[in-house]
């Protein structure tokens, strides 16, 4: 029989191995992308348009397209997530209704991204007839990031003590005023974190916008809502299909590194926003 101390050691070792595996995989992936991507990176690469289907030139329009669709998604998703969270937290009194709402959000969060793409294709391109549009891509990405943003905000609102609401009501504030002056300011960190994490996910998505918002080549700066854009994920996909060409492969690594850097930027912003906007942080 193992002694209690031996069991403790085995358990600690097993958890340590699990930790090393997860960190190891991440470090390998990031290491490979950074090592290979850095060699492709230059100011020219970042700020010039691609040529010859991406095997030469840079990724300026792809960065612009990715940021445009992701930020549009963020701008659309933020008020909707906030409104839904406030309603769920302040006006939905039935616990059963709250559970159903939460379940629907978790369900929406688990929908494969390609389904959102197909939904966008059928609704916007086929039925409404928008054609390829970066704005429609933004809308679909907003729908995708909505559960993340809403759940993060709902959780932040759930964390607000009942005392705050009661004290505000006792001072003669209406529920609307309580929501605007107490609940929203105190849960802002959750909303911002959720939106930024959602953005980090959205900017790396290929499938949902592939059929409705992006062009693999030829897209420049859009001048109307009804134009496609080039994005980093679709550009990487196109370059990966030319993997036999070393120049295209090099650019694929460079674009991957840029995409990872953008995702990291949003994630870092989410981390700092959480720390900065939390009602318990000392300012």
């Amino acid at each position: 029989m193992f002694s209690r101390a031996a069991k403790e050691h085995v358990f600690a070792a097993a958890t340590r191995i699990a930790l090393f595996i997860s960190i190891g995989i991440l470090a390998f992936l990031l290491g490979a992308i950074i090592l290979r991507g850095l060699s492709a990176l230059s100011l020219d690469f970042l700020f010039t348009p691609s040529r010859s289907f991406g095997s030469s030139g840079g990724i300026a329009y792809q960065i612009l397209g990715s940021l445009l669709t992701a930020i549009t998604a963020g701008l659309i998703a933020t008020p909707v997530a906030l409104g839904a969270s406030v309603y769920r937290s302040e006006y939905m009194t039935s616990q059963r209704a709250r559970r159903i709402f939460d379940l629907m959000l978790y369900g929406l969060n688990g929908v494969p991204s390609i389904i959102f793409g197909l939904f966008g294709l059928i609704l916007f391109v086929n039925i409404i007839g928008t054609g390829l549009s970066w704005f429609v891509g933004g809308i679909i990405l907003a729908v995708m990031m909505l559960p993340t943003a809403t759940l993060a905000t709902v959780n932040a609102m759930r964390g607000i003590e009942k005392n705050y609401r009661e004290n505000a009501l006792a001072l003669g504030l209406t529920r609307e005023q309580t929501a605007l002056r107490i609940i929203i300011p105190q849960s802002l960190h959750g909303l911002v974190t959720g939106v930024l994490i959602g953005l980090a996910r959205a900017i790396g998505e290929t499938a949902p916008i592939m059929f409705i918002a992006t062009a693999f080549s030829g897209a420049t700066v859009p001048t109307s809502l009804h134009e496609p854009v080039a994005t980093l994920p679709t550009h990487i996909l196109a370059l990966a299909q030319q993997a036999a060409d070393p120049a295209a492969l090099k650019n694929a690594w460079g674009a991957s590194f840029t995409l990872i850097a953008l995702v990291a930027l949003f994630s870092l912003a989410a981390f700092f926003a959480r720390a900065r906007l939390s009602p318990y942080s000392r300012r």
Partner: protein, 267 residues
């Protein structure tokens, strides 16, 4: 005890001028009756104290007076409750205005994550005030809450940097800034140290000179020190109500004497 008996007992020592009048008042949450058949009058000035064992319905009664529990699922009110002759539960009653008129301080101090001055002015947001008016209100409310001397040099600092006792006095100042017609206090000294508790007791006595103050306490010593009028609730029913001298004397009902003298209740 029947409602008729309550009426007799209460009327014997009922105050001449009333702020709150309860007539066969009851509170239900779904099928659970929390309070029933409470008939009493609270004086228009002075400190009234609600005493009774845990679960007697003291806080429920207090919360019913400024309708803070209105959104609780299954809440049903029976009987009458008037404040300065106005039916609080009438359809035409403006609940938010009522809550501003009947201030409430809770057991646990709860300051908003803002500055001390902003906390005092919190209930006045939406009211257009000049900077001078704001300064006057802040000073007046903080002085009334015996907090001005402690914080006048740091009004811009975050309120959660104050001690718990100071935070509770800030909550009182916040309620007083609205110039309420009555103040409800739900065990206001339960979360604070004895020194702060004594300061708040003194504050209650001072406030009671100008507005009616109704407080809940489990501390019978405190009830004796601060109360002009005492209501003894047990198991959702009013056992007896009267002046402090009466309630803490041999003339009180045996049940009241047992609870107030021996801190024991067999309800």
């Amino acid at each position: 005890m029947s409602t008729a008996q309550h009426l007799t007992l209460v009327t014997d020592s009922a105050p001449q001028e009333a702020s709150i009048t309860l007539s066969d008042f009851g509170v239900w949450f779904g099928d659970s009756c929390i309070i029933s058949g409470v008939t009493a009058q609270l004086p228009a000035r002075g400190v009234s104290v609600l005493v009774g064992p845990s679960g007697a319905g003291k806080s429920t009664l207090l919360r019913a007076i400024n309708r803070i529990s209105d959104d609780t699922a299954g809440l049903a009110i029976k009987g009458g409750l008037t404040f300065q002759d106005e039916d609080i539960y009438a359809g035409c009653c403006d609940v938010t205005e009522l809550r501003a008129r009947i201030g409430m301080v809770f057991q646990k101090p709860c300051v908003f994550p803002r500055s001390i001055a902003q906390n005092v002015l919190f209930g006045l947001r939406g009211v257009k005030l000049s900077q001078a008016q704001k300064r006057d209100i802040v000073e007046s409310a903080l002085r009334s809450a015996a907090l001005w001397d402690d914080v006048h040099a740091r009004l811009g600092e975050r309120a959660d940097t104050l001690s718990l006792g100071q935070q509770q006095r800030l909550c009182i100042a916040r309620a007083l800034a609205l110039k309420p017609d009555m103040l409800l206090m739900d065990e206001p000294t339960a979360s604070v140290d004895p020194v702060s508790a004594r300061t708040i007791e003194t504050l209650m006595r001072d406030l009671g000179k100008t507005i009616p103050v109704l407080t809940v306490t489990h501390n019978l010593g405190q009830a004796k020190r601060v109360a002009d009028y005492v209501m003894f609730l047990c198991d959702g029913q009013l056992v007896e109500a009267g002046t402090t001298d009466h309630m803490f004397s041999k003339t009180a009902l045996p049940k009241t004497q047992t609870y107030l003298c021996e801190e024991f209740c067999d309800c």
